[in-house]
Symmetry: C2
């Protein structure tokens, strides 16, 4: 039982470099968009998660009673902790708050393709801005986190939906409150459920009108233009009050789409009310990003990212109400996607310089040079065990270093060392004292072969 | 109970930036020394830790039974998992293996000054090299991780000791095996224990000779030169076999000190057998790093770092025996130290560019420009809510951005935008299409005031 637990990963250096490459692209995209990194505890009070997601979530958690009798859980997600952090300082934080984080999340569930018990997730969130400009900004950074890998609109699409519009549809049909949430839950699973089964689930809510309702759902899900959606919604509205709400919401849609278009993101975005996102806490625009099958054959696999507006969560946790939008993007699905697309570059983790000492007598000078090269910021390796000269040269070549610095007997006697470009084969003799500077120049410009 | 748990930390962006600065200095030092990053699971089988440290450790762990009935624990340290990773691939990994990691560790203990229930630790380890060259290399990277903050030999010292020499002393006095481990445990606590109490603890092992033994311990701990230590050890050796072992070990010491001197590290290193490091698994040279009180007044506070040789651990976990040296360095004590020394720089997380749109009519062009600036790798901010021109300029100033790019009505009509250096006040008019390039140039060189 010294093996690691099922659903957890060891990261050997080559795995770690690949993971860190993904993290680096995400981090750079987030920073370019003005997001600042925060971090939260790995272990939290269990109640923080049940408060947001209900007691059902406990079945999916690594939870336990700690030695102080506290009910605690490894975080399954970041959002509740983040909402607490923002809520606790909401009066003094400058709005909009734009924060990001990359952190490990834990879920106790059956490990399967693309789903582990521990995975890393990027989260970007914006607090304190109610308008669609924040939604557009969030989608921009989400798309940049994929585009940073060299992926384009032929590779993935953002499916854009709206919980408010769904609520208005239900309101137009006279369905509200808890019942509306239940019906939305059925609609959410529509794509993955046989039609007959969906009809059966709708029966308690709609009775004989269930087929009509499902027809309306299918129509709405099939529309790809906001003005078409508007016309359809208007046709269902029973009174002027609801029509006004629909018009107001369409205004938000136009504002959002205009901002996305101004940022040249339209080619990535598909209006698609087929996305509902099950979680009860979403309140407005919601979206999911999927990879595209070749030749327009549709979406494949699990969502690469998902998010939306959740204006009620901070208030629900007992803090002043604060508007919020956010998304998450996981490392497991992303790494699979990048491998398929051959967008995971070979990760080279080689030293810049390998120092070779001719004989034991030059060992001391070589160690001193290693130390000075490193102090100059140069990644420097050498053979700890000091084998023969030829062996050291082979090790230098195998290390992937770009330069060898050779501390030879005769050269050292004259106060010099030899810098050899292991790519071109060119070499140059430089004073020992000036070797770090000369190595830096050679790394920048190379040394021509003689 | 939505508050975070005691001993855990929320990292607001300014805290996170400070923490990440420490991580960055560590990472750069490790990479300059040829170490590659790995990572391990946060949750591990409990047995992995009890196998290394004995069942006593359970009292200090966050451990529980998971939903699959497994006994598991949040990792209190990285070394056992690392030993498992190296052990599992020991036949194919190229030696020496030089790996580093920065990761969160968890201990259930009373939170106190410099000791939390969760802290981050840098670990650097070298596997597969038995000689003192590996110990010297490890100390070099450890010292570089402190020197990278601008700290020098007046700020901290590495206290260098040797478990092998302690074992030889005990062997010379006829003490071996479990009894030797128990006595070393007493010696380890000598500095923090009243002398009378130490004598009492030594009584079961030495009887009336306890005062003699303690005198020998005190003598050895007071020596600061390896040749003096050698003479003292020789004077206690009862036979030639032990004298030979002592001579062999002194040879290792000379080799180590010669390497440290060649790397110009002698000013940081103090020979000091007062360091024993309690953990049973150390087998050779051991060291701890302490901050220094001003004016040579000795060591203060908890160890900043500690480590040493542990050649038996990989084998003990059931893998082929593999030599190992490693150290750990924690973020909490390090951050305290850096604050005292005023070596934590103010962390500026400002955008490069703030885009200001004159009026709603310029909003579309401004958003397009924001998008292109970000695509060019420039950290770009703008007001999501598009307030008045003057307010936007104030926001630009408050953001800390170095440049404002102003999308003005008349300028835009002529296809231009204005780039303003918020430091010098200088500005320049550039074509909208070329604005990202012009902004990059202005960020590199500034714009002179008119």
């Amino acid at each position: 039982m010294l093996e690691r637990l099922p659903g957890f990963r060891d990261f050997y250096p080559e795995d770690c470099a690949r993971r860190d490459f993904i993290f680096r692209v995400w981090t750079e995209a987030a920073r370019r968009h003005g997001f600042r990194r925060y971090d939260i505890p790995t272990l939290e009070p269990l109640e923080l998660f049940t408060e947001k997601s209900g007691p059902e979530i406990v079945g999916q958690l690594f939870n336990f009673t700690d030695k102080g009798g506290r009910e605690v859980a490894l975080r399954p997600e970041l959002t509740p902790s983040l909402a607490r952090m923002v809520g606790a300082r909401v009066a003094t934080l400058k709005k909009p708050v734009k924060w990001f984080n990359i952190a490990e999340n834990f879920r106790y569930e059956k490990p399967q393709e693309g789903r582990l018990r521990s995975h890393y997730q990027l989260n970007c969130d914006i607090f304190g801005e109610p308008g669609p400009a924040a939604d557009a900004e969030l989608m921009a950074v989400c798309l940049a986190c994929l585009r940073g890998f060299g992926l384009g609109p032929e590779d993935f699409a953002l499916r854009l939906s709206d919980r408010t519009l769904w609520s208005l549809l239900l309101e137009a049909l006279g369905i509200a409150g808890d019942k509306a949430m239940e019906v939305l839950g059925i609609v959410d699973k529509f794509e993955r459920t046989p039609r007959e089964e969906t009809l059966k689930r709708l029966e308690p809510h709609f009775g004989d009108a269930r087929e009509d309702f499902l027809g309306q759902v299918e129509t709405l899900m099939g529309l790809r233009e906001i003005e078409e959606m508007g016309a359809f919604m208007r046709s269902l509205a029973p009174n002027a009050a609801i029509r006004e709400k629909i018009e107001a919401r369409l205004g938000m849609w136009r504002e959002l789409l205009e901002a996305l278009d101004a940022m040249d993101l339209t080619s990535f975005v598909r209006i698609d009310l087929g996305i509902v996102r099950g979680l009860a806490y979403y309140t407005g625009f919601v979206f999911e990003v999927f990879k595209l099958a070749p030749a327009g054959a549709g979406y494949v696999g699990r969502a690469l990212a998902g998010g939306g507006r959740y204006d009620h969560l901070v208030g629900k946790l007992g803090f002043p109400a604060t508007e919020a939008v956010g998304f998450g993007m996981g490392d497991v699905t992303m790494a699979q996607f990048l491998e398929e697309k051959k967008q995971l570059p070979p990760i080279i983790e080689a030293p810049d310089v390998y120092v070779v000492a001719a004989r034991e007598g030059e060992r001391r000078a070589a160690l001193g040079l290693v130390s000075r090269l490193r102090a100059a910021g140069i990644r420097t390796e050498y053979a700890l065990r000091a084998p023969g000269f030829g062996k050291q040269f082979r090790l230098a070549g195998q290390s992937g270093a770009r330069l060898a610095v050779v501390v030879g007997t005769d050269e050292l006697a004259a106060g010099n060392v030899r810098i050899k470009d292991l790519g071109s084969g060119g070499e140059t003799l430089v004073p020992l004292a000036g070797a770090p500077g000369a190595a830096r120049d050679a790394l920048a410009g190379g040394i021509a072969s003689a």
